[in-house]
């Protein structure tokens, strides 16, 4: 649009900053309450007069957040490794073959993009129970790998279709088999879309609540959202303590987001518009 900075742009800038203030206001409350010393009944909107970090230590211990973060890391990490490896591998023949089966396979994965998982949720719960996997982080790694496979295959296939196959051909002429060509030529070339797949899935898996609630509640092995859910249930009236816990639980994704904001936003924008 117009690149000159006029008085109209100034007005627009003021309006946008005001809108951002509205968006950020809840986060300001989150931080300001968490810094409030326990038991002080100050206003819910004013910044605390003598802020303290004590709540963070308390929440960390009482909610057992250290162990929850480890489980969240394990489950997120395991799922991401499987998703990246298997989705990129699957997308390769789907994108390159023009045979009927590859179109059918692509359509099948796309169907998975549409099916709400609520339909599969209850039967899968019973299968996992019969396999005695409930309460085991492995169940969630398997679950997320299957659940997010359609989206990941979709992203990889779209990227590969636009990627010039000349590089692979050169590798094969040099005597590489298809697997070797994939590992040392195709996969490295897919780095941008691998970044997108990692970002979208990490945020989804880290934040997901319903399935860990079903699979892990009542055990010691809880992910962050489930641990926070139990923690708030226990200390419901102690908002400063609770908010400190909420901040700790969401901090890993928020820190990663602010550190990599350009990549995250681009990943979402380019990945999701299909």
């Amino acid at each position: 649009m117009n690149n000159r900075y006029t008085w109209r742009t100034g007005v627009l800038e003021a309006v946008m900053i005001a809108a951002a203030a509205v968006f950020v206001f809840p986060l300001y409350i989150l931080v300001s309450i968490a810094l409030e010393p326990a038991g002080t009944a100050s206003s819910p909107v004013a910044f605390p007069t003598n802020p303290t970090l004590v709540n963070f230590g308390d929440a960390w211990e009482k909610a057992d957040l250290g162990s929850a973060i480890l489980y969240s890391l394990l489950i997120t990490g395991g799922s991401i490794v499987l998703l990246v490896t298997l989705a990129s591998l699957a997308a390769y023949p789907i994108a390159r073959s023009t045979r009927l089966w590859s179109k059918g396979m692509f359509a099948l994965f796309m169907l998975g993009l549409l099916l709400p998982f609520q339909l599969a949720m209850i039967p899968l719960y019973w299968t996992m129970r019969d396999l005695e996997l409930l309460g085991n982080p492995l169940a969630l790694i398997i679950f997320y790998t299957g659940l997010q496979m359609p989206m990941s295959v979709f992203l990889y296939t779209g990227f590969l279709r636009a990627l010039d196959p000349g590089y692979e051909q050169a590798a094969q002429i040099d005597g590489c088999g298809p697997l070797r060509a994939f590992v040392s030529v195709v996969f490295p070339l897919m780095r941008p879309v691998t970044g997108t797949v990692i970002i979208i899935n990490t945020i989804f898996v880290w934040n997901d609540f319903l399935t860990p609630l079903m699979y892990l509640s009542g055990t010691e092995q809880q992910t962050i959202p489930v641990a926070l859910f139990g923690f708030v249930g226990q200390y419901v009236a102690q908002w400063p303590l609770v908010f400190a816990g909420l901040i700790i639980g969401t901090a890993p994704v928020l820190i990663a987001y602010f550190a990599l904001q350009k990549h995250v936003i681009q990943g979402f924008a380019s990945g999701l518009k299909g």
Binding site: M1, P93, P225, L254, G274
Partner: protein, 317 residues
């Protein structure tokens, strides 16, 4: 932006050509890739989604209680029960209302924010990061935060009092005529930034020359938006509407944490009822029947929307 190129690429690939493929075409496709590369991904997908979905679609027509090993086929019994139950009908209405309200308002706000930032505004990069930030926050955390903001003596009512608008104070989540809309506001707060980011990516594909030409021809800003920008935004609109309608229909986390479906079922969605019926009341068959209803809504609404929007896209392409 490879994903955006995919549709045209697919078209080129599937267009019926001469029987003998030319050398160039073979080159484009590259050398054959073994089909079994698909198998590991397919195995996970089949185990987690395909088989349980088929099972779920079947259990919906049985009397399964989760305990008995054998299930009897009862036909449409569960669906009749859903239709006869005013609570279930209310839940369906809530779910559709949430999906509709979120889809309209979230995308409208997302579009306005995107248009605002697609300008010479100096702080646009910082603002973009701030608007998108709620979208990466754990929904459970967002829900607790808002439960506090909405509390009778919480931040919103305090703020209203401070600016002399006491008469606007409400029991935001406790009042059954308000609670649903309070939940909708939280979803919109969380995901408007997501819509904005997708619209911004779409706006960057609108060539500046087109706008300048339209301006020279005397088109005002609204005409320029409607006739130049909007058609070019069609793909972004499609994906945004699909994402928000599917997300709205499946909503669980924020409702479960903020209200648990209450007060008196006023905020119950299909997802919260499915969860409660299955895991608190052992009504597994009824619960899978509700899940099948949800699936029907998702598929029908996405298909209608996708078909309509793609036709619009083609009209303007």
């Amino acid at each position: 932006m490879p994903a955006a190129d995919a549709p045209t690429d697919t078209l080129a690939r599937t267009r019926p050509g001469p029987k003998r493929r030319t050398q160039g075409e073979r080159d484009r496709r590259g050398t054959p890739v073994p089909w079994w590369f698909v198998l590991p991904a397919l195995a996970f997908f089949t185990f987690v989604i395909l088989v349980p979905s088929l099972q779920g679609a079947w259990f919906a027509f049985t009397d399964w209680d989760g305990l008995a090993r054998d299930r009897a086929f009862v036909g449409l019994e569960q669906f009749r029960e859903i239709l006869d139950d005013p609570d279930a009908r209310g839940t369906v209405a809530n779910t559709l209302l949430i999906a509709l309200a979120v889809t309209v308002v979230q995308n409208l706000i997302g579009l306005l924010l995107a248009l605002g930032l697609h300008s010479a505004v100096k702080s646009r990069n910082l603002l973009r990061v701030l608007f998108f930030a709620p979208a990466v926050i754990t929904p459970v955390v967002a829900a607790y935060l808002w439960r506090y903001l909405y509390a009778p003596r919480g931040a919103i009512n305090t703020l209203l009092e401070a600016v002399g608008l006491e008469f606007l104070q409400q029991d935001w989540l406790g009042d059954s005529s308000l609670a649903l809309w309070s939940v909708v506001v939280v979803i919109i707060w969380q995901f408007s930034g997501m819509s904005m980011v997708i619209f911004l990516a779409g706006l960057q594909t609108v060539p500046k020359e087109l706008h300048e030409a339209a301006a020279v021809d005397g088109a005002g800003p609204f005409r320029r938006f409607w006739n130049v920008t909007r058609p070019m935004l069609a793909p972004a609109i499609t994906i945004n509407l699909m994402l928000s309608i599917i997300g709205g229909l499946k909503l669980f986390d924020q409702v479960w944490v903020m209200t648990g479906g209450g007060p008196g079922g006023a905020t119950d969605t299909l997802s919260t009822v499915i969860y409660r019926q299955a895991f608190q009341f052992n009504q597994f068959a009824y619960s899978t029947a509700l899940a099948l209803v949800l699936t029907g809504f998702v598929i029908v609404l996405s298909a209608v929307q996708y078909g309509y929007l793609r036709r619009e896209e083609r009209k303007t392409a």
